[in-house]
């Protein structure tokens, strides 16, 4: 992280997002250990926790920006960048790994022209790897947005990618 987090950073903090954040903070600020709850809600509702959002939360919660940033970067579920319309996650659990996920990832990279961990330039699809989703009996498994799709066959896989790139 080379950029300095400044309290004035407001790059993407539009009115709507600010309202969402305000509502989340208002609903949770009196809980003990509220920061995790607030960040989880923000990630869920906005889809990411940008630097300006981190600064905003820190200011509202009266905690150092470093504390918020520290938590956001510690947990892999929090992302500081906007994500694609769809998220495709490849399960890297043992069963899936053995069941052919690495090959499917190669195929996906080739079909999308994008990389794992990146979003396609049109903002349509973000591809990531994830930890075991606990559906090992259906290996190999990917998750499409929140949904688990198991028993992926190499020959049916391109159709799935195509659907995500178009719809």
């Amino acid at each position: 992280m080379t950029e300095v987090l400044t309290p004035t950073a407001t790059d993407d903090l539009c009115e709507t997002k600010r309202a969402v954040l305000d509502a989340i903070i208002a609903a949770n600020r009196n809980r003990q250990g509220a920061l995790m709850v607030i960040l989880n809600e923000t990630q869920k509702q906005v889809g990411y926790v940008s630097k300006s959002m981190q600064t905003y939360v820190a200011k509202k919660m009266r905690v150092p920006v470093s504390a918020v940033h520290g938590v956001v970067t510690f947990y892999s579920f929090f992302t500081s960048e906007a994500r694609g319309k769809h998220t495709l996650k490849f399960c890297m659990g043992t069963a899936c790994y053995v069941g052919g996920i690495p090959q499917l990832m190669e195929k996906a990279k080739q079909l999308t022209g994008s990389e794992i961990g990146k979003t396609t330039p049109d903002g349509q699809l973000t591809m990531e790897v994830c930890r075991c989703v606990g559906a090992c009996s259906q290996a190999p498994v990917v998750t499409v947005d929140e949904e688990v799709v198991g028993h992926i066959k190499p020959n049916k896989f391109p159709q799935l990618i195509k659907k995500l790139l178009e719809g």
């Binding site: 989880n40 043992t94 994830c130 930890r131 075991c132 606990g134 090992c136």
Partner: protein, 595 residues
Amino acid sequence: MKFFRSHVLVSVDPQCLEMGAHQIVDTLNDELVSSGLIDEIQVLETSRLGDPTRFGPDLVVYPENVHYANLTVDDIPFLVEEHFLKGRVVEKFRAKETVVTDDELGAPKSKEVRIVLRNCGKIDPHNIEEYIAEDGYQALANALTSMTPEQVIDEMMRSGLRGRGGAGFPAAKKWQLCRQVPDFPKYLTCNADEGDPGAFMNRRVLESDPHSVVEGMIIAAYAIGASMGYVYCRAEYPIAVANLNIAIEQAREFGFLGNNIFGTDFSFDLEVRMGAGAFVCGEETALIASIEGKRGEPRPRPPFPAVKGVWGKPTNNNNVETYAVTPQILLKGADWYSSMGTEKSKGTKTFAIAGDVVNTGLIEVPFGLSLREVIFDVGGGIKDNKKFKAIQTGGPMGGCLVEEHLDLPLDYEALTAAGSMMGSGGLIIMDDETCMVDIARFFMEFTQEESCGKCTPCRVGTRRILDILEKICDGKGTLEDIDRLEILCHEVARNSLCGLGQGAPNPVISTLKHFREEYIAHVVDKKCPAKVCRSLIRFEITSPACTGCMVCARNCPVEAITGERRQLHIIDTKTCIRCGICAQVCNFNAVEVLS
């Protein structure tokens, strides 16, 4: 509670939903209303019943236990008229094969004893009344109205229940320690951060029977004197979080949570806290930090959470399974529970079987069963008639066990003595096509990535171990690397702060112990005996088998395969990235792997 003559369980698995499961539910309800059966037949939504690609959309009718598959909305009026009005099973809609009710759990296999999983797939997790009908909350009522907290602890102590999170510390002992600390308020946490790859026992319990965990936690809170509890659930389990929240809300409505439970002066409330994808948060001090809203970094113990836990107050932390089984023990008695298992490991344990075994999924067996019985009787043996090679127990921080260990009884002590551990209950079974160096590398990659970075031995050590393993897998390793690996593993295990770092080298240590010759083959002969490590293998298309159908060429991600239709195809080894897709898609087994 209303009683119904029959229950219809419709699968609303995502794939079934896509195929119109909700329309089927709606039509079913409409038809039942119009035929006047709506008070006799109840329609429920449940998770998957069978493989949706073969059976969906499908439903099961109980108590008849009839599985109807591949239904459309148009089939429903006929089905309702025939089955429910006239009482005749409609053979043409019936699933062609007998199927297990769900492919994670299935019907109990021989040698299985289901206590923790008893309600899974049987009751509606969204309905507290169904849980109550299965004797739910009765143990809580008994405990609160007729037992003192000490008596609860005594009974649990006699049952011999040991913490199911992996370490196997006696649960009641932990409760007692926390109870004795003269500091208030006290807290209760439930570790539902089930992060081991290949383990999903807790997910299933939380999704299918959340009330058993809630009830167990209330009982534990009563025994300890805790006033507030947190279930720390990993973010990867959204359905578990949702079902838990529903369960807690319902328990509150029924007066099982809140102030003056059952009219006593005992008050307790529960909240679900979500993790955010950090494996280390399964370590109890890290879990506590995360609940407090901080980075989930572990801290040295002592002080133990029983003395200083959440918000610096005494905290008791147990695993999902420990809490889930508690009500049953109180209900049926310590003697009943301790009659199962071995001398030091009492009761039953859930395991998730994954890998190269016929029946993957969840099982619950009494302690003391041998690994052989688990793999070959309950698990149905190795897939595709291949040979058993190793079994990894205890997740990524456990170790692998081999043929000679197969007759070991499954209990805490025996597994630890053999160089592995019980862990939370993930069993990964590997056949003889698995490269043990690659498996060690895979687990190391996991722990290296999940190392929180707080202590140096783990942060740097896991990275260096992984570097060496990668070097070996790449065919660039030397014999000195193996020695270095061994030293490093012992140092990391000895000096790391928490269980993650202490256990991280285990897969390497145990594979080195049992499969040293594979490591040597990688560094000396530059060969991967199991033909897995990419840098050490090559693919070749063999002559008579190849029909020139071009499927491999079309599927190759790097276009390394050339050849005319109906001619032998050739793989360009320079371009080939050894992804193995060609071998996977070939219908004629013409792609051979060589090392």
